[in-house]
Amino acid sequence: MISRILRVSLAGFTGLVMMAAAQAQQSPVVAASAASRFAGADAAEVPDFQKHIVPLLGKLGCNGRACHGSFQGRGGFRLSLFGYDFANDHGELYGRVDTETAGDSLILQKALMQIPHEGGQRLKPGSWEHHLVLRWVQAGAPARVENPATLTRLEVTPSEILFTAEGQQQPLQAIAVWSDGSREDVTTLCRFQTNDDQIADISKEGLVSAGSPGDTHVVAFYDSAVVPIPVIRPVTPQYGENYPQVAATTKIDELVVQKLRKIGVVQSDLCNDAEFLRRVSLDVTGTLPTTAEVREFLADTTADKRRRKIDELLERPGYVAWWTTKLCDFTGNSDDKLNNVTPVQAEASKQWYAWIEKRVRENVSYDKIVEGIVLAISRNEGESYEDYCANVSKLYHKDGPGAAGYADRQGLAHFWARQNFQTSEDRVIGFAYTFLGTRIQCAQCHKHPFDQWTQDDFQQFEGFFRGTVGRQNSRPDAKADYEKMVAGFEGTAGLKGNDLRRILAEQVQKGATIPLAEVYTVKAQPPRRNNRTPRRNNSPIPATAKLLAGPVIDLSQHEDIRQPLMDWLRSPENPLFAKAFVNRVWASYFNVGIVQPADDLNLANPPVNAPLLDYLARGFIENGFDMKWLHREILNSRTYQLSWIPNSTNRLDERNFSRAVPRRLPAEVAWDIMVQATLNTSKNTEFVSSVDKRALSIPGAGLRQRNRNPADYALTVFGRSIRESNCDCDRTEEPSLLQTIFVRNDAQVLSLLDSGDGWLREVAEKHQLNFQPRSTPDGGNAQQKAQAKARFETQLQRLRERLDTAQKNGAERQVVALKAQLKKLREQARTQGVEISQDVEPEPVAATITVPANLNTEEIIADAYLRSLSRLPTTDEMQTSKTFIAESKDPVEGIRAVLWALMNTREFMVNH
């Protein structure tokens, strides 16, 4: 959430420079602060419930979670958490005031600690806060006014703070601008928060104090407004006018440098060509460049070769697979949540993948793809229920088009049919996560503490999600067709649920057309005159719904009530839709988003570089949501192509894009390149042109559906997304001990080195070397086998121990019996295809190895480097590897060890 830069000595550098703050527009009347208006006990003004009382309760901490904001409400006094439920809060307070003798009001006595209050003294006697509450009570403790003005904006000045030394201070001023045109200085009524108190602390009064160098934000909260103010203290003297002349080739670079200039950080140099090629190939296509490709790229002397390579990579199947996978992550394509959505298990996740894959392949614009999801129903336009069933049943026929055929359907209805998307609350939360990159769940129950959303916003937004039904059978008007079709199959009478599904599943695979479940929408009824506000749970579909920070929509005007939702998403004014995607794409290239976490866009978690995010989001919209435009724009920037080697200013910056930050490869890519690096030349090259059998193109995900694919264990260890909890953090990219153990020593990885299609065999054949495998062949079900092996080994071990004792004791008959048992066990293992250890360890290396005198290991070593690290070895590395192979009794083991070691370097497992 917070950008941070470590302390850098600022010796001899002082002087305060305050950024020229964007001044609040001059306005004729700004009411002075409540602190001055209520300084005396004799103010005539009556405080306003929404403008003064509720914010003050927030400021005093009364409605915090630990106090009266909790759902149980301390002492039976329950305020809405973080405010904004005015009716409830007024009711609760009103029961605790005495308008006759205001001073006897419980809320005053408690807060002043005139009587015991577990929360301590909140009001100082004689303070302006005391006067304000007292005056409100004296005036009869009025509720929120009828038809209240709404807060238009909160103007906080200065809009940015630049400190240069510890201890410097800057007060904030906050002016509330209301929809009726009135303005008020509400500084003393705001709550303030710092996002990093090491860099900038902020007092309750809004006084910001400088801490250590770095950049962060302080945040002002008032009513529904949340305003972040950047605070910067440069980390080196090279900032502002002292900033060196630097290259900035694209708009992105300009905006990144603009920020770096303020914090005194200089970007690293450009990365070299080999680093660029590896980085961009892994990032864009999840695939290593082939050795030939590296050599060719390094030899190319044309000026625009990086640009051309980017264009080339964006056309490869790896790009399509990787971004389909990412979109499946964001949209939640999880096998665990798609049980019974299709008549045949696991087809739903494949169809989901295929549907997105086709569109990414054709570079359909992002908003079009989203439209196909948001407005999805099961039937294509004009399709009757019977046609729909006939067309989709075909996808399950043995010789039908399979899941790929689903890609031609108009909508991705599974998105609405999945189990974690059934209630309208779930839908709001999942939708906000997927398309708005926002965690709105807090507002389900109370005002969002870090964002503008109130519970009312959430509930009114929910209306858009109530009209979509994902059922196990047909739309009600096709019920007769459905039943007729069911009755057409023998043995279905009276069957329901799983029993019926089983029969239908059998039939459809045999080629029948079966009645299918469908997702459909229900129209809203026009609003009734005397029904002022739509009540929840009254009818399934309210007459109106309200867009987030947008207008109220009459849903009865729309065939599909999701249409206005979609129109709002793709409108250029939408504050989040484009940003959410742009930020995620950025995060996938830079380790962190411009907003971080990348799926947590909220007002109190501002972008580290707001102009940059704005520029990319605007450009994305202006270019018709063209995803490839976005990729090109980022990949062609100098900022993307920087070296990971730091300079003296940016060593500790991981947040402002001043250098490349080494990051662990995503799980799918990590596994795929382990396979790719070990394959022979022709199989290795196929990785560039095909994604068949790759982890990159596994459609579904989830916890329960493991062990279908040989890569499953690796993907679990490396943290592939489980697509379960509406969080990008379902995917992890942190290292772990188990990952290291896996790459170093797992039988599955070791067997890759010795694979029949492997590079090692290719080398051995080419140079006529004896090939002695050092691993057990892996049939793909390594985990199962490992477990079976473990079982056998334990039994064997027990028998051996008993045999040992028997032999020591000279119990001959027992020895014979045990030996027979041992033999039997070995046979069992053999018939099950499990290799178990022998009683006598075999000699690891055969004695007959001959090393050809003219073996040129340099070429082999260079090849190993190119196929794993995508670069040539340094002189030292070459020498080390050569010596190692020369000193190996078996040169093949020497070469194997070199490739093994390269795959175990950090350079292999991180993108840098």
């Binding site: 959430m1 003294q121 108190d197 390594a782 473990a790 590395e877 590897s881 190996s888």
Partner: protein
Amino acid sequence: MAFFQNCDGVGRREVLKAGAFGATGLTMASYSQLAAASVVNPNAKGKAAIFVNLNGGPSHMDTFDLKPDAPAEYRGEFNPIQTCLPGVMISEHLPKIAGCMDKFTLLRGVSHSVAAHELGTKYVNTGNRPLPSLEFPGYGAVITKERPGIPELPPYVAIPNSAQRPGYLGVKYAPMNTTSTPQIGQPYRVRGITMSGGLTIDDIERRRGLLSQLDRTFSDVEKDSQLLDGMDEFGQQAHTVITSTKAREAFDIGKESPEFSKLFGGSQLGASCLLALRLVESGVRFVTVTNGGWDTHRDNWTTLKTRQLPALDEALSGLFTGLAARGLLESTVVYVTGEFGRTPKINQERVGRDHYPRNMFMILGGGGIKGGQVLGESDETASMPKHDGFSPDDVAASFYHTMGINHTFEYHTSTGRPVMIVRDGKLIPQLFV
């Protein structure tokens, strides 16, 4: 962070600032002297620890803090039974634990205010109330940093994974996840920890030598990167784990006798506890066992009596008696907790109980913790601690203390920010032998 205020009206930072000028007469300088210079007391009784995380928040009122006299809308279906401690009653569905209450301290009236799963879990796994700007390290990370254990074994194992994160200490202190759960009576191993495929020790040593010479690209910057530094550390650990036979032995609960295994029952939780015991016996310093299914918003009583409690009863009683039988209880701390309790008032609509952090139970036993006592008490409806109660911070401080770690020791984060191991905890003196 002034934003998160406590009910006592002041955030922690303000306490410090007030202290500088105020009545206590503490200056910042003398305050920081309180944070002692040395972190480890090697003579502490606790040498290893097993942390059992009951994920979802187990209902305190239906397990260890029953209120048979509370009104019907609170009470719940279960009856209390007498334990081996005179006058102490727990749920009828925990008969085996009732029989070994002499081996640990039951804490009632533990209280906090974080009612969300993720944040509550962070709280009880770190002993620090979560902050948005800083991720605190879990117990396992701190303990294995200070008391690393033997090189042949991973110092810190999570079965099958853990909510404890290394936080600001860096990923190199993350646990090794087994990713799977063992079964009683079955052989068990973690993939990759045993040498395989015809490689000899000699081969592996040679390969490692080569690797250390080739993995140097990042040497100049690795200390600035949690990722690179962590991977380096894991590389060293991986090598010792792979080359030692100790690891394979330690993980294989199939090597336990059927008689001993039986103590733990047949559940995954039981098998996990047995594995934890075996690992600790072999020299692993810290083991977490994570067990879910406790988020009983619906059908609380059915779920508890048919699934959750029978497994817990056998697993925990097996763990305590097993540790005692092997002579490990004196040196092994067992710490059992969920992220919160559950609402004393029954949710009638769903026949369940919802999240409730104000009052919960925790269990701490072994390794210098006194057995056979109940500390703390809740009110008539188990809604609040009757007296002061304990905070998760207090329990954390005490846990570290018995593990020989000074919880007031200050670490420095990567940005140089000083942070105490437990920022706000007081020792609970009655806990210690």
